[in-house]
């Protein structure tokens, strides 16, 4: 599906597959993302206000009536849509589409108009309502590869672009192409049940490509025509 709408001309198209059958809702991905991407700690009060910043979150839906209630988990992150509704509405080009299929957010260009946040149908975008704080000694573990955003800036999942960049540079240094499994975003790395898979969709043999071709594959809010780069595999059990 993504190949038809692939507007990129370069050698990679990064995509992710989320297997809903394997997701246990443990939120290890959420925590890993916080640690990797210097996400500020919102605290209890702000979380109660709905301002807890999560670049990936586990949406939990209840289905059925008591006593046959079931919880359905769905990790939702930035879908890196090919036809992202959030990109053209930014008045200062803080949000644009990279040639490799990523929806990039340029922190130092963002002036905090927040139209992109409104226009994302997945509510995947977050805003820095205050300056970031971390309780001691968490400030000592900030990732130097990721900018710490000040207040007034929109942010969201970047598919761990710092790891993508590092993987590509490593491959270039070693004079070889990027192998499947070289680049692993933090959430993918930490998922204990391997529900998240990341890779290059241009490579037909990569795990991502193989999983995305399965019968169970679907996209969130497909009818909107956003052509997301995240494919979900329907839960069967």
């Amino acid at each position: 599906m993504a190949e038809e709408h692939n507007k990129t001309g370069t050698s990679h198209k990064w995509e992710m597959v989320v297997d809903l059958d394997r997701c246990t809702g443990c939120e290890a991905c959420v925590v890993a993302c916080h640690a990797e991407n210097n996400i500020r700690i919102s605290g209890e009060e702000e979380a109660a206000q709905g301002r807890a910043i999560n670049w990936i979150r586990i949406e939990r839906y209840w289905e059925g009536e008591y006593p046959n209630v079931q919880a359905r988990f769905m990790p939702v992150l930035c879908q890196h849509c090919d036809d992202a509704p959030c990109e053209p509405v930014c008045p200062v080009y803080a949000s644009y589409h990279t040639p490799e299929g990523l929806n990039a957010q340029v922190y130092n260009r963002c002036i905090g108009v927040r139209y992109c946040g409104n226009n994302c149908p997945y509510t995947a975008r977050q805003f820095n309502w205050f300056d970031p704080t971390w309780d001691e000694p968490l400030a000592e573990q900030l990732n130097p590869d990721v900018t710490v955003r000040q207040n007034g800036i929109m942010e969201k999942c970047t598919f761990c672009v710092q790891r993508i960049r590092q993987g590509k540079e490593q491959a270039e240094k070693e004079g070889r192409p990027v192998r499947d499994g070289d680049i692993v975003p933090a959430c993918v790395q930490s998922c204990p049940s391997s529900a998240l898979v990341f890779g290059d969709r241009r490579d037909p043999e990569s795990r991502v490509s193989q999983l995305a071709r399965q019968d169970r594959a679907f996209h969130l809010l497909e009818a909107l025509g956003t052509h997301p780069a995240v494919t979900y595999l329907k839960r069967i059990t």
Binding site: D82, Y93, H97, N143, P144, V146
Partner: protein, 335 residues
């Protein structure tokens, strides 16, 4: 025009004056249209087709509008084409978008240029006239016929003409051209103060994360004093005292002796003897001065900054200050 426009006959007419016959009679007397100015508190006719030279004003408006469209095409289309960035699958240069922006810039340029042109035209229309009689606003009509100081007879002829038309007052005006009055003063544009607020800010340039191989940023210990300060912030006396005893024994007693008399084992080898800490010239020093001596050293006494922390040095100061008291206690105990 060779004519000096600054010499003129001005005539004040009552409200009911008939303008057209007056102008007609002036024309018949040989006065050209350009020499006559009729000043009224409201427009006499609804004519709204002023020309600049031979060009109607609306032509200028249209030209400005076309320039505005070009500017809009440049902004909406040109800048996007020059620096293409893909956003959301939209075309780099979208026709509706260029249309909207061009529409607005067209209107902006058209309106602004029309305004500026009309302002310039207004100012040029009255550049010869220096004064305005405020009675005009009360409904009077002021007619001004500019004429150089030609023959007195001619002036008299026009004067009679005006009088017959019903003027109440006739004056001869002859002034030098005033230097340009305040109308040309531009109003300074004030940039929004907001961009001054933090325009040169270093947003996010200093990151709290550690770069690889960067040394850890140690925090100052609690109660640390600034580097060059001699102030001593006293802590609790008891706890520093016991620490002071030990520290003195370890660091100071080899020169100053175990009792602080200046008779330590190293004293024999020193040219300048260590001070007797019981003496009044040591004891009368303030805490800060003693702390200073400990920190920076004095003569052959080495500086203890770096070796001992500030807290430790303060404890030693407290201990030194307590030496006479201890001595008295010891003597008392011995009694």
């Amino acid at each position: 025009m060779a004519m000096d426009e600054h010499e003129a006959l001005t005539a004040l007419f009552p409200r009911q004056v008939e303008i057209d016959p007056l102008v007609q009679s002036l024309r018949e007397a040989g006065i050209s249209e350009a020499q006559i100015s009729i000043m009224t508190p409201l427009p006499l006719s609804e004519r709204a087709s002023v020309r600049l030279g031979s060009m109607p004003l609306y032509v200028i408006t249209m030209i400005a509008g076309l320039v505005g469209i070009a500017i809009g095409i440049f902004f909406a289309g040109g800048t996007a084409a020059m620096y293409p960035l893909m956003t959301g699958g939209k075309p780099i240069v979208g026709a509706p978008i260029v249309g909207i922006i061009s529409y607005e810039t067209m209107m902006l340029l058209a309106i602004v240029v029309t305004f500026i042109t009309s302002v310039v035209t207004i100012k040029r229309a009255h550049r010869a006239i220096t004064e305005r009689d405020s009675r005009v606003d009360d409904g009077y009509v002021m007619a001004r016929v500019s004429m150089s100081s030609t023959s007195t007879a001619r002036i008299g002829l026009i004067r009679n003409l005006l009088q017959r038309a019903g003027s109440l007052e006739i004056q001869w005006e002859s002034t030098q051209k005033e230097k340009g009055n305040q109308s040309g003063k531009a109003i300074a544009v004030v940039l929004a103060a907001i961009c001054l607020m933090n325009g040169c800010s270093r947003d996010m340039q200093e990151q709290p994360s550690y770069e690889p191989q960067e040394a850890p940023r140690l925090h100052s210990p609690l109660g640390a004093v600034p580097r060059d300060s001699r102030a001593v912030i006293t802590g609790s006396l008891e706890e520093s005292m016991s620490e002071g005893v030990n520290l003195f024994r370890i660091n100071c007693s080899h020169c100053h002796g175990t009792t602080g008399r200046g008779d330590g084992p190293a004293a024999a080898y020193l040219k300048e003897k260590p001070a007797d800490l019981h003496k009044s010239d040591v004891q009368t020093l303030s805490d800060s001065a003693l702390y200073d001596v400990l920190t920076r050293g004095k003569d052959v006494m080495p500086p203890f900054k770096g070796e001992l922390s500030a807290k430790e040095r303060r404890s030693i100061v407290a201990y030194v200050k307590s030496l006479p008291k201890r001595m008295l206690e010891k003597h008392a105990n011995h009694q």
